[in-house]
């Protein structure tokens, strides 16, 4: 019974999240439609550079409005107050995903400054050690992989493919 209720709550929260996504996409789409209208047309062709984007955004806006109406009709009123707690629960269960994206953002921000090998070494060590089981063998494997994919890959690309990965400042 409890499981069923949990499932319904998750479904409701998912539908509210989707509704929010429709609204956000609608705002972006309207913005881009207005921007497309300002693109000057050419006298050499019937359609200007803005026509195709406008066509796409009109269709997208119509679809999003119908999706919003459908969602609002489907979601019961009492589901909205429960949404915040469900969203926090969702984020908690997916903490590793959020951590992965945080690591990635730091990694690519640092790469142009400290260079590919060091940035990758630190990123891989941090991420691998977070995910791996806590055994000596696993830690040794983490260190080996981090070295291989940072300095090893850097060497391979430079020497074999003549592609020079960012060297840092």
């Amino acid at each position: 019974m409890n499981e069923n209720r949990d499932q319904v709550l998750t479904q409701e929260a998912g539908e509210i999240a989707r509704l929010l996504s429709y609204v956000a996409l609608l705002a972006v789409s309207i913005g881009m439609f207005l921007e497309a209208r300002t693109i000057p047309t050419s006298r050499f062709e019937a359609l200007g550079a803005g026509a195709f984007p406008m066509l796409v955004h009109v269709l997208l806006i119509l679809l999003l409005i119908s999706a919003i109406i459908g969602s609002v009709r489907q979601i019961p009123a009492e589901a909205y107050p429960r949404f915040a707690s469900q969203a926090i629960l969702w984020a908690k269960t997916r903490r590793l995903v959020l951590l992965m994206f945080v690591f990635l953002i730091i990694y690519i921000t640092a790469m142009p400054v400290i260079g590919y090998p060091i940035a990758t070494l630190v990123f891989l060590l941090a991420f691998l050690l977070t995910l791996s089981p806590k055994t000596k063998k696993a830690v040794a494997l983490c260190v080996t992989l981090a070295l291989l994919f940072s300095f090893g890959l850097n060497w391979l690309f430079a020497e074999v493919f003549n592609v020079f990965l960012p060297r840092g400042r």
Partner: protein
């Protein structure tokens, strides 16, 4: 006949065969690593072939190409990430099959279907290349635009749980494709002042971000299974090659139909392999006695997708050779390679250098034979990727994606784009939007726009889209695919309602 034999003698020399062998291995390995696409493998092979005679160089590239089409299957089946866009439909069934404990069967089915697909397409090419090229020449921008509309509606109605979200996803893809300079006049659009957006979003980065990054993020969703060192693919990998070969050949209609779709779609310039696998899959589903099994790991789905996409490798050569229009990004690089080797692409090629053209066809067939041999003999070695636990795969493949993205254009700003698209892709996936329509729309968007504008430049009359027969057929097919999907949804709804009423 002389030209055929001359081409054959050049391709079948020991040195060419050896190089093609390594090319095929490189293609398979490259496409098997998600984020390290066959396009990159071909780009990296290109400089290595400069010193070779034209046919030899092109044969090696073709081997990489054929190997790559098959290699895309490995990551599609085992990781659920299509190594190339052409392996998109393969993920629908090969991945569930692998997850259900039959990874060996999924791969084996795909490999054999790929092999037969390539062979069938090569045979068709040799016989029917000239009339097909003539047909492709007659298609105008109206037909291309309608074809793309048809392709997008098919994908939107085919994947995911909701037609509405499928269509929204396709339109988001088209909207993303409009960022950057417009394809006709070069006018800047929607770059918001960022240099990185000025040239538009390169579709390979969108592909890697949407598929690889978001898929990898999905893999780390459950902390418990990660820390336990769970493997991506469970179950023993058994190939049973001959049993699978018989299984593939037991459904000749599906195999031949899918291959023919692959050839026909591949022959349409601008369409390319990215659509063929989806249409072949869709047709197989419609013709099947058990359509409800599609998407759950049915062998028919794997066979349709893989034979369809491999057959386009051959079909794609038709417009490329006869018109000089590449079918996809991979075809574009192959085209560049031919030009680097001093081969002028166009209708005169078949007349002036028939030995070269036949040589290319033979190289295709030989490559697929090599691919089959390599896969059957040493697939176990390639499959070590399946025995590696998730906690190793996710970070290292992420680094491969980063390196692959950087190496495409040597631009650090592409990496920020990649991560941003990855986060967006994960959010869409979490919200149950299908990703395939978006990715395909990003690839097809510029082609659709160019053809729409070109059509109206030629004649400012919208009714031509409906009065030209081929264009009308594509548009009617698009409408049918949507109504078919709506009918399915209504049927499901009625069923659930009945079940609820009974309860």
């Amino acid at each position: 006949m002389d030209a055929f034999l001359l081409g054959a003698s050049e391709v079948l020399s020991f040195s060419t065969l050896t190089m093609m062998f390594f090319g095929a291995i490189a293609g398979i390995v490259a496409a098997a690593i998600p984020g390290f696409t066959v396009t990159m493998a071909i780009v990296l092979t290109l400089p290595l072939t400069f010193a070779l005679p034209p046919l030899q160089g092109v044969s090696v590239m073709l081997a990489v190409y054929v190997g790559g089409y098959t290699g895309g299957l490995i990551s599609a089946a085992l990781l659920g990430i299509p190594g190339t866009p052409s392996a998109l439909a393969t993920t629908f069934d090969a991945y569930p099959m692998a997850r259900k404990g039959e990874p060996g069967r999924a791969l084996s089915l795909g490999i054999w279907a790929s092999f037969f697909g390539t062979i069938i397409s090569t045979l068709v090419l040799i016989v029917a290349a000239p009339p097909l090229a003539v047909f492709a020449v007659r298609l105008g921008p109206w037909e291309y635009f309608s074809l793309i509309v048809f392709a997008l509606t098919i994908v939107a109605s085919l994947v995911g749980h909701s037609l509405q979200r499928g269509l929204i996803s396709a339109l988001i893809g088209l909207a993303i494709a409009t960022i950057g300079t417009d394809p006709m006049m070069g006018r800047p659009r929607f770059d918001m002042g960022f240099d990185a957006l000025r040239a538009g979003l390169p579709f390979l980065i969108v592909l890697i971000g949407i598929y690889a990054i978001s898929q990898l993020a999905t893999e780390v969703e459950d902390p418990k299974t990660i820390h336990n060192g769970e493997k991506l693919v469970k179950g023993e990998i058994k190939f049973n090659n001959f049993a699978v070969m018989r299984e593939v050949l037991a459904g000749p209609v599906n195999l031949v139909r899918s291959s023919m779709i692959g050839v026909a779609i591949g022959a349409l310039p601008g369409a390319g392999g990215s659509i063929a696998n989806l249409i072949a899959y869709d047709q197989a589903k419609r013709a099947s006695k058990t359509p409800e099994e599609f998407g759950k790991g049915t062998p028919e789905g794997v066979i349709a997708s893989e034979s369809g996409n491999s057959a386009t490798a051959g079909g794609g050569l038709i417009p490329m050779i006869s018109l000089g229009i590449p079918g996809s990004a991979v075809d574009a690089i192959l085209l560049a390679a031919l030009m680097v080797h001093g081969i002028s692409i166009g209708p005169r090629l078949i007349m002036d250098n028939p030995d070269l053209v036949y040589g290319m066809f033979i190289a295709m067939a030989v490559s697929s034979l090599m691919m089959l041999f390599i896969c059957v003999v040493s697939m176990r070695a390639f499959l070590r990727v399946a025995e590696v636990p998730k906690w190793v795969i996710v970070p290292t493949v992420l680094v491969c994606c980063i390196v692959g993205t950087f190496a495409l254009n040597n631009r650090v700003s592409d990496l920020s784009l990649l991560v941003a698209i990855g986060i967006f892709g994960y959010a869409m996936k979490a919200l149950d939007y299908p990703l395939a329509p978006l990715v395909l729309a990003v690839i097809l968007g510029p082609i659709a726009e160019t053809n729409l504008r070109r059509a109206l430049m030629t004649d400012n009359d919208w009714s031509l889209f409906l009065t030209r027969p081929v264009s009308l057929v594509f548009l009617v097919a698009a409408l049918l695919s949507i109504s078919w999907a709506i009918r399915g949804i209504l049927k499901d709804r009625r069923k659930t309602k009945q079940v609820k009423d009974v309860a």
